[in-house]
Amino acid sequence: MVLEACVILIDNSSYSRNGDFAPNRFLSQIDSISFIAGSKIQQNRVNTVGILSMSGRRPDLVLAPTNDVGQVLIATNKIQIEGKIDLISSIEIAQLSLKHRSNKEHAQRIVMFVASPLEEKKEDLEKIGSQLRKASISIDVINFGETERNEEKLSALIDNANSGDNCHLLSVPTSTGIILADQIQGSGIFSSSSGGMGGGYESGFGGGGYAGGMVDPNVDPELAMVLQMSLEEERQRQSRLQQENNNNNNEKEGNEEKQEEKKMDLEETEESSQNSNKNENNETKEEPDMFSQLEGLTEEEQMELIMKMSLEEMGNEELEQLGIPNEEEETEKEKDPEVQNALQDEDLVDSILLSLPGVDPENEEITETINNIKKESNDEEKDKEKKNEND
């Protein structure tokens, strides 16, 4: 949360009447300004934002730095489109305005929109870049509309003003359907390090495909919490069920459920089922065999092996009861164990999710993320296995 005083330089020259950025360059700047000001003041209520119009008779400080977003929006309405921009003077006036800021602890920043072809010389821009750097003012430039012609000059400006990566050049090429405010939002130069609350909400559920399969807590904290709760519940349930299983429990929850449990065991907690098998049954002799075997096998084959072993534990009676359907299921599963597991897993997860309010289990995003979670936990368990084997 950086304490910052910012002056936004808007390009209100005749070149911004151009409609290549809908509805026209000028209005797309206004749009972006409301986003930028909102995002900065949201990050820290004491941050100030001011507005300066670059063209006209002379550059005009339309709004002195203030922390009131409403005033920012009102001020943008007063600006007229006219003339050509005077870049150097505009930056100097912005510099003055920042120098006389009320709170000296604020860091100084200029945000400049450029939508007209620059007539200034590259050396002059380099000079003013160094001047900004000397005064410890950082500058962000949004180059759009005349991107190619201005690219070189503006990068020279940024290079000279940059000290420690505090200055950025955002070039937005002209193409159909681009909204300037969205491009700015997406680039992340105005987001805080935590990810940017304002931007996050507008991108909405699209943020669900975050790296690692988990929902970014900033984007949707409720969903992240829900998923985490369901994960934990599931794991607790599984460990409980394993113990029941391995103790040759008489509680019969039905054929399919038992199979489901086993599949869950196998898929999600291979290692813990191994351990419980180890501890609670007469399989201690088979341990070394098991481990040595497991090392060489793929996941599928590992699962099959464990399946067989847990089936052996169950004893004849139970096998009879499960009987033929069990074998059938088993063969099916041997053919396609992963699919079966996934399906049954989903049922259980769905049932958990249904019990939670406000969550639609059929939502694609949720199922997607859950699948990612499963993959993730599988990887985790493989690692655990290897660690255990090393012990």
Partner: protein, 167 residues
């Protein structure tokens, strides 16, 4: 004759700054007592501007500027006082209260650079503009700056006593 002291305790470090220093350097490098371990190095060019804010008004007697003798030490030092929002533009256009041309011995040995106290009898903020360095290179380095003087008398609240009314 009042004793002159190191005004280090009167300096308001939070509101003091050094312009054109390298990004991660702080003003405490040169104003705090732990001298010589930290420098202030100039960044874009060889000029440095040190704005020292005091917590109260002081009288400045002299100043000590310490630097290396390898040519990176400052040469021309312009002193201003009681300026508001002082930047490089002002430093180059306004007339300084004092102008000093530092010599190598003064900065390596930490000699006192005497000010005309009559001109510095009521200082709230001191601004030191180091315009160039001894070697003529692009980088100026300063090790330590010490301001010597005496704080002006201000109301000493602890000494206020209630006086009994006399009839």
């Amino acid at each position: 004759m009042t004793e002159f002291v190191d005004l280090i305790n009167s300096i308001d470090l939070k509101n003091s700054e050094c312009l054109n220093s390298e990004p991660n350097q702080e003003i405490t490098n040169i104003l705090k007592e732990d001298e010589d371990t930290n420098f202030i190095t100039s960044d874009t060019d060889e000029q440095l501007l040190v704005n020292i804010q005091f917590k109260q008004k002081v009288r400045v007697h002299s100043i000590i500027v310490r630097a290396e003798g390898d040519g990176t030490g400052p040469q021309m030092m312009k002193v201003f006082q009681n300026q508001f929002s002082f930047g490089f533009e002002e430093a180059q256009s306004l007339k300084p209260t004092h102008k000093f041309k530092l010599i190598k011995r003064a900065i390596t040995e930490g000699k006192l650079i005497r000010f005309k106290m009559v001109r510095f009898s009521n200082v709230g903020s001191l601004h030191l503009f180091f315009e160039n360095n001894l070697g003529g290179g692009k980088v100026t380095k300063i090790k330590q700056i010490t301001v010597v003087g005496v704080p002006l008398e201000t109301a000493n609240i602890s000494k206020i006593q209630s006086v009994e009314e006399k009839k």
